[in-house]
Symmetry: C2
Subunit: 101 residues, 2 copies
């Protein structure tokens, strides 16, 4: 039996202006605004969510879920009940190991 | 009826060493190597593919498919029969508009 593959929960890219960027993505692509405030937004695509984040708030990253974050470091709790640890690939790219609420 | 959402075909991140990076991702995550050579690799996750590219070969990007690329610029044909045009969001992030073979 083939093993189950990990899903990538979201991809986050840095933008300079959340409102402007939400306008650009939603006018160019078929996607839905799942969340937005002045500091970040989450756009739902068919298979994945695209997070738009400000450079001083979050690094660019991909997020992969894990039930147990302890092998990766000290989890940081978020207001929505999730928690996460950032790890880095050999080139320094960020991977957010995310425990769902 | 809710409109269909665009899928994101792949996300590409830049790495310094393809072989080293493929080893790191496949040892940390449940993903499959769909393609690899010395200049890039494609890792299949459950819902999306993650491309690992060298900085002098490709920019970091997300890829979204379109049947007609002409509104976006002059399509560049690829060896596998696909073609694409890079466009940029207001912050300069790259989006590859990709026509499948």
């Amino acid at each position: 039996m083939p093993r189950a593959l990990d899903p990538i929960l979201h991809v986050a890219i840095q933008v300079n202006d959340i409102e402007l960027s939400v306008g650009w993505y939603t006018s160019n692509f078929a996607c839905e605004v799942a969340y937005r405030d002045e500091s970040w937004a989450l756009l739902k695509f068919e298979n994945i969510s695209l997070a738009l984040v400000l450079p001083d708030q979050h690094p660019p990253h991909v997020a992969i879920t894990r039930d147990d974050l302890t092998p990766f470091g000290k989890p940081v709790p978020h207001r929505d009940g999730t928690s996460s640890v950032y790890i880095h690939d050999p080139s320094g790219n960020n991977v957010e190991m995310l425990k769902l609420a």
